[in-house]
């Protein structure tokens, strides 16, 4: 050791703390010195940081490294900020997360003012159903009412007031708009202020208009409807002295004779009509009415007829008079009015089926007093008068309802008054025109030239939800609240007043039209407040309506009660039908030349008079007869087509009185020869990306001087035009003359039908054709507890399609657009199949709602390679969207073809992602998954409702019952044709249908064991055989 120390020149006093080497331990000077230098001498000689390295310091380098790593990390992650879900700090009153609230209100989609129940989730309206307690519509609401929810969230609603400038429109604020308009109105002086509006069914709104009139005395209100009952109205005035024609007891009629009357389709309150009509087509009570339809165009009513004859509308008068003459001859009635007519001549001349006419005559005799003859709105006054007389003579006045009669708050403006308005405009006698949520530029006959006339009015104000043809030519466009954002009331029947309440505060900077008028009345833009009309409404009820009720409860209580219920019943009595004035009939109008072609303009089943044209769900709802979507067309009979040498989709030019329109032709079986039927409501301009360019504006064919009726024009002509236009139908067109495809629905027992007389004789006639249940090599699953099933009564199903829209809303079904319908890719989970049998002149029509049959041995389930479609222990065929890869094998193997595939992300595909607007996403039912591209979907039997009922039952500690669940389609069906429940619940109403002797399954022979039972349709005809 000592040697070592000496050799290394170390000192002999070791440091006791720590050492790394002996040199250190013994404190060698050199070593200690070297410890202070990181690098040995010479090591860093060649190293100059400024030359060999960039100027970035180590700190900077580390900072940059860190920053780039952070950036890279952020860029590569797929985290998308979808916002946060935070709980309520202060829970709003009434709202429980995940629980829907229901509010009673009134639908303003058409003048019928049905009671509705709006379902809201976390403050968002998501579904509309009929108010079950409402005395008129009894829990049902039509397709338009259902789809109205889409109008609320329509991203194209006008969101603030607009003022016209030379190039377009400027956004302005309400104060500016109000003060401008108030100034203009107060300058009117003796010049007229014209208010153009649709039907007014709100008594309080009428009061507002009266206030407006007293403030601005030169005001005149023009209330109009494109489709109205003015002909019936004036006929009743002549026949009975009052235009308030009565409602009809459809349910008590044994024989119904509809003359060009689509009372199940578009006329009157069709929801109520359908319910009453179907009440007496009931297999349980075995009571069946008999429907004769004599019409020119195949209508929804026509397809439900037991006997249908086709004649041109001009011949209806002669037909009624001939019936009258025949009945007179048989001594059933006694009148000399019809002496100039002969039924046998009429039948001969117009080639009617003699047998059918005889049945009709005999039925009118046999069911005297229990039959009703009903003329359609489009028929002229004299037909209505003749019908009134015939009903009166036959004693059918019994069937006029005496519990309630319609109320007209304000008479519709006649065509003459509208012409007068246009005349005043051109003479400069009008100071201002105010359009209250209506579209006269589109609706008024084009020969009035209303559009250009508006330019002569100093100020044109249009109150509207969305841009339209009229707003485009207005100086001011004021956006109004949607139905669901508004207060209101409605009365169009005696004995009931409906109340309308908002269920969401206005989504945009909009006001309700009544409040706008009230602001103008007050002359100060400052008057407006959110509660302006609400207060007015309450005050009007308190001062005007409440005293007339002579109620014993205090007003507040009555008001809140009515608000809760959605309506108020009053003990107002119905108007009595007086004695008929037989001399009202003008026989001189009888002779009408029926040469040439007759043009019939009808209301669209889907979009009404065009008000709902921007609603994709309605545009895509198939026409109940032709199954065509997204278009209107010229429907002609196959004989007319043959004589014109045209086929489906050929363009034709229709002209009447110099007014022309080119549109595609559709050969409609059952249409009268030499007639053209066109539905109005299409061909909209400036009205949103959904509506614009859809269909053809046949309003151009309307005339302000109709010679027969506003909607029927004789002496029209039709010529083949060059070119073709594709109409998108959801069903292949039917070839009547092809023996291979003819009547396949009957040959395959898809549609099983019989007659009432056969049923009475042999109640189990359907069961004879049913195949025996086959043995299975497997042990079938035993459904011992709950098993869901559906029964559809084809006797009650009219084929209206309300269920389709209800299903769309409930289950977030996307709109796919015309191009995709053309490719047969519509997404509706429920469809109505329409089949024709017989000849194209006199087809027998069968309809059948078709949806997933939830088969016990579902062929879709065993072919899915990834088990994405499975069966639940309660009998549901389920789809697992997350698992679905989209092989479409299930759809191929589904014999009913009810599965729907997302070929695109349709929400993104349709109209450049219109449906992906953040506003429209508010509309989704949060309980139903929004399906993505590449996924199969189908009817779930509203599994979300089943699960809700199940958890509710579990909460109460009781077993779930079949009656706890109502599917969306079932709720919407106006005739209660759809029944849903527990197949094992033997004491339920549903069980009766499930095991009904008329029940059958579609494609039973495949042994897939479907769980949808169809109750065979019975036709109430005189023979046993069809």
């Amino acid at each position: 050791m000592s040697d070592y120390r000496e050799e290394n020149n170390l000192q002999n006093n070791p440091d006791p703390n720590y050492w790394r080497s002996f040199e250190e331990l013994y404190k060698n000077e050199k070593t200690l010195e070297a410890r202070n230098h990181e690098f040995a001498d010479g090591v860093t000689d060649d190293f100059n940081p400024n030359e060999s390295l960039s100027g970035i310091s180590r700190r900077k380098f580390l900072a940059l490294l860190g920053a780039s790593a952070a950036f890279a990390g952020v860029a590569c992650s797929d985290y998308r900020d979808k916002g946060e879900i935070v709980p309520y700090n202060v829970k709003p009153e009434e709202i429980i997360l995940g629980k829907p609230n229901f509010y009673a209100s009134t639908c303003t989609a058409c003048p019928n003012s049905c009671g509705i129940l709006i379902k809201t989730r976390e403050g968002r309206p998501i579904k509309v159903d009929g108010n079950p307690e409402h005395p008129v519509n009894r829990g049902k609401i039509c397709a338009k009412g259902q789809a109205n929810i889409l109008n609320l969230y329509d991203p194209e609603r006008i969101q603030q007031p607009l003022k016209k400038n030379s190039a377009g429109f400027d956004n302005i604020d309400w104060k500016k708009a109000d003060s401008d308009i108030i100034a203009a109105l107060s300058m009117a002086g003796s010049k007229e202020i014209s208010i153009v509006t649709h039907t007014i069914s709100s008594p309080t709104f009428l009061k507002v208009l009266e206030d407006f009139k007293s403030k601005f005395p030169s005001t005149k209100v023009y209330s109009y409807e494109l489709f109205n009952n003015s002909n019936r109205n004036s006929a009743w005035i002549k026949s009975y002295g009052s235009g308030n024609f009565p409602l009809i007891k459809w349910n008590e009629a044994k024989v119904i004779v509809a003359l060009d009357s689509d009372f199940l389709g578009v006329e009157g309150n069709r929801i109520e009509n359908s319910r009453l009509f179907a009440e007496s087509r009931d297999v349980n009570s075995k009571s069946f009415n008999r429907l004769y339809v004599i019409e020119s165009s195949m209508t929804l009513t026509g397809i439900n007829a037991d006997y249908r004859m086709r004649i041109r509308p001009e011949l209806q008068f002669a037909f009624v008079m001939s019936l009258m003459n025949e009945l007179n001859k048989k001594g059933v009635i006694s009148t000399s009015l019809a002496s100039g007519f002969s039924l046998s001549d009429f039948v001969e001349k117009n080639n009617l089926d003699k047998e059918k006419v005889n049945y009709l005559i005999n039925d009118l005799i046999a069911y005297k007093g229990k039959s009703i003859i009903h003329a359609g709105d489009l028929l002229p006054e004299n037909v209505h008068i003749a019908v009134n007389i015939l009903n009166d003579l036959l004693g059918n006045k019994n069937l006029y309802r005496n519990d309630s009669s319609p109320v007209n708050l304000i008479n519709l403006a006649s065509l003459d008054e509208i012409k007068e308005l246009v005349g005043k405009i051109s003479n400069g006698q009008i100071a201002a025109v105010i359009h209250l949520d209506c579209n006269p530029v589109y609706h008024f006959p084009s020969d009035l030239n209303y559009k250009n006339m508006l330019g002569k009015v100093p100020i044109v104000v249009t109150l509207t939800e969305r841009m339209n043809e009229t707003a485009q030519f207005s100086n001011y466009i004021l956006p109004v609240n949607h139905n669901f954002e508004s207060w209101g009331d409605a009365k169009n029947r005696t004995g009931v007043i409906s109340l309308q309440q908002p269920v969401i505060s206005p989504l945009h900077n909009t006001r309700q039209k009544e409040a706008i008028l009230l602001t103008w009345i007050s002359s100060s833009p400052e008057t407006f407040s959110e509660t302006l009309y609400h207060d007015y409404l309450m005050k009007h009820w308190e001062t005007d309506i409440y005293p007339s009720l002579k109620s014993k409860i205090e007003f507040k209580q009555l008001w809140f009660g009515a608000l809760h219920d959605g309506f108020l019943l009053t003990n107002e009595s119905a108007q009595n039908v007086g004695n008929i004035n037989l001399s009202s009939l003008d026989l001189n109008q009888a002779s009408i030349d029926t040469k040439g072609i007759t043009l019939i303009l009808r209301e669209s089943y889907q979009v009404g008079d065009g008000r709902f044209a921007n609603n994709g769900w309605l545009q895509e709802l198939p026409h109940p007869v032709s199954r065509i979507t997204w278009d209107n067309y010229a429907a002609i009979s196959h004989n007319t087509a043959k004589s014109l040498n045209v086929e489906n989709d050929d363009l034709v030019e229709v002209s009447v009185g110099g007014r022309k329109l080119t549109l595609p032709v559709f050969i409609q079986a059952g249409n009268a020869d030499d007639t053209i039927t066109i539905e109005l409501g299409y061909g909209r301009e400036f009205s949103g990306i959904v509506a614009s360019g859809v269909g053809f504006n046949a309003n151009q064919l309307l005339s302000s001087k109709p010679d027969f009726s506003n909607w029927v024009y004789s002496n029209a002509s039709i010529t083949k035009a060059a070119g073709k236009y594709s109409l998108a139908s959801t069903q292949e067109h039917h070839a009547f003359d092809n023996p291979r495809t003819q009547d396949l629905h009957l040959k395959r027992h898809i549609i099983q039908e019989g007659t009432v007389s056969l049923y009475e004789k042999k109640p189990d006639f359907i069961q004879e054709h049913r195949p025996k249940e086959l043995e299975s090599v497997y042990t079938p699953f035993q459904y011992n507890e709950m098993k869901w099933g559906m029964a559809i009564d084809l006797n009650k199903c009219l084929g209206c399609g309300d269920c389709i829209v209800a299903c769309n809303v409930e289950n977030n079904v996307p709109v796919v657009g015309k191009d995709q319908v053309l490719k047969s890719r519509e997404m509706q989970w429920l469809r109505i199949d329409r089949y024709y049998s017989g000849s194209p002149d006199d087809p027998r029509v069968s309809v059948q709602p078709m949806l997933c049959q939830h088969c016990d041995q579902a062929p879709c389930e065993n072919v899915c390679p990834v088990v994405a479609t499975t069966h639940s222990p309660d009998g549901l065929n389920q789809m697992v969207y997350n698992r679905c890869v989209g092989t479409r094998y299930c759809s191929n193997n589904c014999p009913y073809k009810v599965r729907r595939f997302n070929f695109f992300n349709f929400r993104d595909h349709f109209r450049d992602g219109y449906q992906e607007s953040s506003l429209l996403t508010l509309m989704f039912n949060p309980e139903v998954t929004v399906r993505s591209r590449g996924v199969m979907e189908k009817c779930t039997f509203c599994v979300q409702r089943i699960e809700e009922a199940r958890s509710e039952a579990a909460r109460k500690g009781v077993p779930i019952k079949g009656t706890d669940v109502k599917t969306a389609c079932q709720e919407a069906c106006p005739t209660n044709a759809i029944h849903f429940g527990d197949i094992n619940g033997k004491d339920s109403e549903f069980y009766k249908y499930r095991t009904h002797e008329l029940g059958y399954y579609v494609l039973e022979e495949l042994n897939v064991r479907p769980n949808v039972t169809y109750i065979a349709k019975l036709r109430n005809i005189h023979t046993e055989e069809l």
């Binding site: 069903q731 292949e732 039917h734 291979r740 495809t741 396949l744 629905h745 040959k747 395959r748 898809i750 995709q820 490719k823 047969s824 890719r825 519509e826 469809r831 199949d833 329409r834 089949y835 059948q848 078709m850 062929p859 065993n862 072919v863 899915c864 390679p865 990834v866 088990v867 698992r883 679905c884 890869v885 989209g886 092989t887 479409r888 094998y889 759809s891 191929n892 193997n893 014999p895 009913y896 073809k897 729907r900 595939f901 997302n902 070929f903 695109f904 992300n905 595909h909 591209r933 590449g934 996924v935 199969m936 579609v1002 494609l1003 495949l1006 897939v1008």
Partner: protein, 457 residues
């Protein structure tokens, strides 16, 4: 004309020596590709690119770009799948079944046919994946353990397909590679390029042409042939199950397995002939791929074509005999409905035109056989189209009937699959021996020891 049927025609014509055979087959691998080669490659490459673009756009926007619709859930992509799987069948039949049956004439065409099998199965394998709505989830079709306890559905024929096609591909690839090993060794020994030598060395797995090697090789080759033989029957049987297991009239038919197998061999042979008439000309292989070989293949085409024709007729008979209305309708509708044009293309191409092969003159005429095999290829594509589309477009409920029209994207992807196939074929001709050198040598005149210096059987 006098033909001595007691004596088999020589498998290799022109009395080629063994070294000449080697030289002939290996020459394309030793020379640089010429202009024509690049022209051919650019054409097939363009088609491939077209397909890739169409596919890329379809992935981006969704398969709604195709013509598929509600009743017709399966259309051109599935037609292509079945078509390409069918094309593959000739290779396996030639290399495995004919091997087991000791058919010496197979040696000249086996390698090429096998290569076409592999390329066709690659083309086919693409379609089941891309035809789904969400191809990125195709992994769900594999039974892999996962924490969700999700399993595949073994009752679905589509799942059987996954196994059938992947097994088929694997076995074909292994079989092909085993057959290539002696040739890799030959090439290794021939080549002067260092790179090539390394590659050939790796793939020849140390083959030294020793008797022991040959013994193992022959054994392995025979075992694999035995293994591949049932696959010829099973793969297309299972593909036919995709249809036959369903309940759709026109699909739900017990004749499908043999009918599909016959059709597959039919179409596969037609495709092999289509390609070989070019290959033998371009690479001067007329002596190895002789007219006799082509004639034999044409005979197989004639035979299988008639089997297919029999199946067409039998389907109609059974539809009538079953008394099932829907079934009867489907077949009448095929022949006379909206897709009658497709049906009659199918019948004339598959049944009528191949009848010309009854005549020796036509069997041995290159232009005639080329036209006929092209027609057979077209006809067999249409057969799958007819089965798939016409059955779907009008099934049970007349309300759900529709019409299917393929779109630009459907056709683009079909052309793309041809592009892929021919690109692979063209690359193959310049990178691997298109004819099995060792096998052809073995059947060449004088290759085998004999007692009398000639053939002995």
């Amino acid at each position: 004309m006098h033909i001595d049927y007691s004596q088999e025609a020589p498998a290799v014509a022109g009395r080629l020596t063994l070294s000449q055979i080697e030289e002939l087959v290996a020459r394309p691998l030793d020379t640089k590709p010429d202009r024509k080669y690049f022209i051919a490659l650019s054409i097939s490459g363009s088609l491939l690119l077209l397909g890739a673009i169409c596919l890329g756009i379809s992935f981006y926007y969704g398969i709604g770009l195709w013509g598929n619709n509600q009743p017709v859930g399966w259309a051109v992509p599935i037609v292509n799948f079945v078509f390409w799987v069918g094309i593959g069948h000739a290779g396996t039949l030639i290399s495995a079944i004919l091997f087991l049956l000791r058919q010496k004439w197979r040696t000249g065409i086996a390698r090429f046919a096998e290569a076409m099998t592999i390329f066709a199965v690659i083309c086919a394998g693409i379609f089941p994946v891309i035809h789904t709505g969400r191809p990125w989830l195709a992994g769900y079709l594999l039974p892999y353990p996962n924490q969700h306890s999700l399993w595949v559905n073994f009752t679905s024929p589509l799942l059987w397909d996954v196994f059938a096609v992947s097994t088929y591909f694997t076995v074909s690839l292994v079989f092909w590679y085993i057959g290539l090993i002696p040739d890799f060794a030959t090439l290794r020994d021939r080549t002067t390029s260092k790179v090539k030598k390394t590659i050939y060395s790796i793939f020849s797995l140390g083959w030294r042409h020793s008797s022991r090697h040959w013994q193992h090789y022959e054994k392995a080759y025979m075992l694999l042939a035995g293994f591949a033989t049932p696959l010829v029957l099973s793969v297309h049987t299972i593909v036919s199950f995709d249809f036959a297991v369903s309940i759709l009239p026109g699909w739900h038919t017990t004749i499908f397995p043999p009918y599909f197998v016959a059709g597959a061999i039919f179409s596969g042979f037609a495709m092999v002939v289509t390609v070989l008439v070019f290959v033998r000309k371009i690479f001067n292989l007329e002596n190895i791929i002789t007219l006799d070989h082509l004639e034999k293949m044409n005979k197989v085409i004639l035979a299988t074509g008639m089997m297919v024709g029999y199946a067409y007729g039998m389907e109609f008979f059974i539809a009538w005999y079953s008394g099932v209305q829907a079934e009867q309708f489907v077949f009448i509708n095929r022949a006379f409905g909206p897709y009658a044009w497709a049906y009659w293309i199918m019948v004339s191409c598959n049944v009528i035109f191949p009848q010309l092969f009854w005549f020796r003159k036509f069997r041995r005429s290159i232009p005639v056989m080329f036209v006929i095999v092209i027609l057979v290829n077209v006809g067999m594509w249409f057969e799958r189209f007819v089965i798939t589309v016409t059955s779907l477009h009008r099934d049970f409920l007349p309300s759900s009937w529709g019409y299917y029209k393929p779109t630009f994207f459907d056709m683009g992807i079909l052309l793309g699959s041809f592009g892929l196939f021919f690109t692979l074929v063209i690359l193959f001709t310049k990178s691997l021996p298109v004819v099995s050198i060792s096998e052809v040598k073995a059947v060449a005149d004088g290759a085998q020891p004999t007692h009398r210096g000639g053939h002995h059987e």
